[in-house]
Symmetry: C2
Subunit: 306 residues, 2 copies
Amino acid sequence: MSAGLFGSIEGGGTKFVCAVIDEQNQILAEMRVPTTTPDETLNACLDFFNQQQVLLGRLAALGIACFGPLDARRDSPTYGQILATPKPGWAFTDVAGFYEDRLEVPVGFDTDVNGAVLAEALWGAGKGLSDVVYFTIGTGIGGGAMVNGQLLHGLMHPEMGHARLPRIGGNEGFFGVCPFHGDCFEGVASGPAMAARWGMPAEMLSPEHPAWKLEAAYIALALQGVICTLAPQRIILGGGVMSADFLFPMIRQKTVEFLNGYIHAVEILEGIEDYIVPPGLGTRSGILGGKALAELADRKELIAHS
Amino acid sequence: MSAGLFGSIEGGGTKFVCAVIDEQNQILAEMRVPTTTPDETLNACLDFFNQQQVLLGRLAALGIACFGPLDARRDSPTYGQILATPKPGWAFTDVAGFYEDRLEVPVGFDTDVNGAVLAEALWGAGKGLSDVVYFTIGTGIGGGAMVNGQLLHGLMHPEMGHARLPRIGGNEGFFGVCPFHGDCFEGVASGPAMAARWGMPAEMLSPEHPAWKLEAAYIALALQGVICTLAPQRIILGGGVMSADFLFPMIRQKTVEFLNGYIHAVEILEGIEDYIVPPGLGTRSGILGGKALAELADRKELIAHS
């Protein structure tokens, strides 16, 4: 075992990214494969890790930051599985078990957004903080949270994209695209929601288009609820929609407006620019999320053996 | 020091309840005083504890479960204070410091709802669980949460009563009573909201009145958001409005309806009766909340000294 070598998988609905990463977060090798069948995709990643272990040395642990819904509760009979996903063939696939059996290293397994919030809290925009929320706003909307320095799980992982939001005036005619809830956060503010509402993909809309003002307002409404419920010390917004970085000042302004002075925290009232921020790790939040989960699995294993 | 004797204060906007409680949660002495000025009220409680210490023995610690907003962050310069409350004279009163200076015992200080969720998780309806949410729904609406076995604080304590909710059809004319947010959870579902909407206090409305159906729906909408965001293992509902216990089955049904099968947790899908429940400690959640905070302060003190 090379103590300082970690495997990471960023498992998405479109592609899986695999990497071997050292203790200093240097990515030593990386590969991406399309998400086809579990058999094909998981084995392609396995082959990559087996090859890299010959070249670079044995992995200390593997971490998987994966699309959901999934079961990340260690004491659950379905731990390690992707649950009832609409993605064909993937429902109830035991992803963590697949690699535990074949790589024989400790495997960390959690949602993509919990991986990202962990990586951001360790090395990125949430560094030094104990209570951080990370949202990805893109094809879907998901949120991960660290509370008191630990990842939030509870009954299952959060599904922050599916909290219901108030309607913003003038859009009563648009029902929202979520097949479960219609106009939940994801239903009104994901990329597909923008495309459905305005008749073209978000990236085609000019920054002056009224779509963005409405988008910022809906995101701010969701953040208002998250602030009232989780009171994070910082909120990190990533994902495809947030690559329109002119959204940040608009979201900050509306969030302060919606809170309306009720939350007396200088971090919000005087420092909103440092409160709602983009990922500090940029596009590496995901793959370093897997690495962070690997480190966690490695440390847990060490604790369990001591 | 009698190791097993704890002081507890349940500090509300109307009255303060003080008690001396033993390790087995027996209330050995209890007193209530109206909430007038900080000077009068805090000193009346101090006198009670001083008298009881002569009669019963020295307290190991004191816990204060208090109305807010307040600062419960130990490392904050305003720790121990009630913050910008509209209650005359109480803003920026150093409640924890008052008793630390005069009783010279470890003092625990947190919100009434964080005290209640801690007591319920230790001895009541959340016993054995690590992730529990407690709501009080009455004159105001507040929520406390335990996550991974620890009280949720973050930037400040949560203000779950102030998350915004979608409007339920047919009530567009009613704006909500929250002076900050209008139609947030507290604005549409607190006791005063019910009274304002229907023209009479909630306790005057018969169980058949349509007010209750709407009330259950708004509470369920709020719980849908909390489940998506915090994913608690159980939700406990207390407070004056919830003394109308016929609300429980109505709220359970609407919560399942609003989640619409998205959260695949047997605890919700098959066990909603055990998922949304009244307080296991009944009306003692508050005063035992103070005692639980006292125990926590006592243990922290012991750890710090060891």
